[in-house]
């Protein structure tokens, strides 16, 4: 836990320095007669982030914050697994949206998650995985006219548009 606390604070400190650097692309000083320049607001706020990070690091070194006193591991094997499966399957799904359309990706995601993480029977898994994209299609595309990305699967949807739109 203690190591995680320090690493996170150091990482965020580096990130705030990057934000400061990026903000400095625009003037960060006080322009006489018109107040702060375009980069000043994010620059000084990022500077505030940096100060906070330093305070967090100091408190962690002095063992003042609860996570820095805790001896529990930041993530045990089991929770790491859960995290990797959860976040990983989401990342794969979002990546798939570009290829097999949002609906295809949702179908694959639900099949995987319900069957292999949730350990639901195949019948329930298949039913949910098929019904959810169909309901979403009608709710979002037909009713609300929010067109979700289709990727390479687009030709499959053209007849549907001809029928419903």
């Amino acid at each position: 836990m203690r190591r995680a606390e320090l690493s996170m604070a150091v990482f965020m400190a580096v990130f705030s320095v990057y934000l400061m650097y990026k903000s400095a692309e625009l003037p960060i000083g006080w322009i006489p007669g018109s107040g702060p320049g375009g980069g000043a607001y994010p620059f000084w706020l990022a500077a505030g982030m940096l100060i906070c990070c330093i305070a967090i690091i100091v408190r962690a070194l002095l063992r003042m914050s609860p996570p820095s006193r805790s001896t529990e591991p930041y993530m045990d094997r089991h929770s790491l697994m859960l995290f990797v499966v959860g976040a990983g399957s989401l990342a794969v799904t979002i990546g798939l949206i570009r290829i097999i359309s949002a609906y295809g990706a949702i179908l694959v995601f639900l099949l995987f998650y319900l069957r292999f993480v949730g350990r639901h029977p195949w019948r329930l898994t298949a039913a949910v995985a098929v019904v959810t994209p169909i309901v979403s299609f009608f709710f979002f595309e037909i009713m609300l006219r929010i067109i979700l990305p289709k990727g390479y699967a687009e030709p499959l949807f053209l007849p549907l548009y001809d029928i419903f739109l």
């Binding site: 625009l26 018109s34 994010p42 859960l82 976040a87 990342a91 639900l110 350990r119 929010i146």
Partner: protein, 504 residues
């Protein structure tokens, strides 16, 4: 008594069968759109606007106003049940709504939200009916310095919201504010903080992308880890007796509801401010005056009642400057305004004189829509509770799917879906280390307005910050805000100075 006559005429219009039907459909559609994370009243109204040409303008505005209302009620549903604010107006509702649901009091929270929304909505319509013209004048008196003072006040009411770890709370506020600056600087007209020149950052970081990332994905990852497997999301039950109990609760939260109703309404009237700061300030003030401020954030009905009454009151409030001045008080009313132009009506000071039927028909319908939205909401509570009782391994993937679609629907850009995932993962990792997340979400909502009004004021004053003090309205608000900021800081200093009692 002319107003009462006009109002009676308005009710007659509202009670025409076609208009009643439109209100019912509008409330139902709004309720569902509002309950979807990522979709709020803006989307609902924008999407259905082109469909309104089939009915006369009065029917059209009644329909769209009903959607607006329904979505405000619906926003609470996703905040309470999933912990994901469906729109920025419902952020404050998650603070206590979510803990209540986790304690198994989802039904009470939902009923509190519905009744508080109803009371807030009704009070604001009454205020609307009685005092439209003077309030419209007040709205005009708010220029950039006043807006900035108001933003300062909104932050001040929230200073005590974070965790006890002060550096982490401030870190969270700062990072939210920096993210709100991403995209485009309207004062210099130049793009800024466009990370790695990815064009997706040009439109800035949408509040919903951060909120769904943190509260949707981050929260889900966290809950899955806590539960270590298959549990129910919350032990939600619903019996008739509990329902009654929920209604009885209204008596206990009347103070918070009243604060929310009035504060929400007045903040909602101010153009540019809208319902979000209104609901946040209502939560903060309700906590300040509550007898049990320590219960806030841990699941108290008061913490649900205040923001919910406020956002409904504010949604009515924001219609006032739209109708009387032609200035929208919120993004949704901006689209309603566009709608009125499509129907051939010119919003503005002449509208009340030239189109009395339209205006009073709308006002009459607001009373009725409120009743419909309340009834629909209460009737649907059993269905929501049923959803909550689904096994978590079924509910979690469905919520993930909602997050992905909602994250896309907010800006219709895949870039933001990736960003949402990154925020979700980061939020999960940081949350494990006690970083509070709510301040970042608030900061990104208020940050943009705070910055532009600050810099506009400073340009007007040649860079002198005295502008925030020497204008009467801005001055008094600024002073209030500063007092609210300094008081808790003094308390912290005291804690630091005073020697700590020995640890047992």
């Amino acid at each position: 008594m002319e107003i009462l006559n006009l109002l009676a005429d308005g009710f007659i219009i509202a009670f025409e069968p076609q208009n009643l039907l439109l209100m019912l459909i509008g409330c139902a559609v709004g309720l569902f759109i509002g309950a979807m994370p990522g979709l709020g009243s803006v989307n609902g109204v924008a999407i259905l606007l082109p469909l309104t040409f089939i009915v006369p303008p009065t029917g059209a505005i009644i329909f769209l106003a009903a959607i607006y209302y329904g979505a405000m009620y619906g926003g609470a549903i996703s905040s309470i049940m999933l912990g994901i604010p469906g729109a920025s107006t419902a952020v404050a509702t998650t603070f206590d709504g979510r803990p209540m649901a986790l304690k198994g009091q989802a039904d009470v929270a939902l009923i509190t939200a519905a009744t508080a929304s109803f009371i807030g909505g009704t009070i604001s319509v009454i205020l609307f009916t009685g005092f439209a013209p003077p309030l419209a004048k007040m709205a005009l008196a708010f220029g950039p310095p006043e807006e900035f003072a108001l933003m300062l006040l909104a932050f001040a009411t929230f200073i005590g919201l974070g965790s006890d770890d002060i550096p982490k709370t401030f870190f969270s506020i700062f990072i939210g504010l920096v993210f709100s600056a991403v995209g485009f600087d309207i004062i210099s007209g130049r793009p800024r903080l466009v990370f790695f020149d990815i064009p997706g950052f040009l439109h800035g970081i949408n509040f919903l992308v951060l909120a769904i990332g943190i509260y949707g994905i981050g929260e889900m990852l966290w809950t899955i880890e806590l539960s270590k497997g298959d549990v129910q999301m919350s032990q939600a039950t619903l019996t008739f007796r509990r329902l009654l109990e929920g209604f009885r609760n209204v008596g206990q939260t009347w103070k918070a509801t009243m604060i929310g109703s009035f504060l929400g309404y007045f903040v909602g009237i101010l153009p540019a401010a809208g319902a979000t700061p209104g609901s946040l300030m209502a939560y903060g003030v309700a906590k300040m005056v509550s007898k049990h401020p320590e219960a806030f954030g841990k699941g108290t009905a008061e913490g649900v009642a205040a923001p919910e009454s406020a956002n409904n009151a504010a949604s009515t409030g924001s219609m006032l400057p739209m109708l009387t001045l032609g200035i929208p008080g919120s993004p949704t009313t901006a689209i309603l305004l566009g709608g009125m132009i499509i129907w051939g009506l010119e919003p503005g000071p002449r509208l009340f004189v030239d189109h009395t039927e339209f205006v009073w028909g709308l006002i009459g319908s607001l009373y009725v829509s409120n009743v419909f939205a309340l009834l629909l909401n209460v009737l649907l509570i059993p269905a929501f509770i049923w959803v909550l009782r689904l096994p978590f391994t079924l509910l979690a993937p469905m919520i993930y799917v909602l997050c992905m679609i909602g994250g896309y629907a907010a800006t219709e850009d895949m870039h933001d879906v990736w960003l949402m995932l990154i925020f979700g993962v980061a939020a999960y990792l940081m949350r494990k280390l006690d970083y509070p997340m709510a301040p970042a979400v608030l900061a990104i909502v208020l940050g943009e307005l705070a910055e532009s009004s600050l810099r506009q004021s400073l340009i007007i004053s040649h860079g002198s910050p005295l502008i925030f003090f020497d204008r009467p309205i801005a001055g008094s608000i600024t002073v209030c805000a500063l007092i609210l900021i300094v008081l808790p800081l003094l308390k912290y200093v005291k804690v630091f100075v005073r020697p700590k009692p020995a640890q047992p």
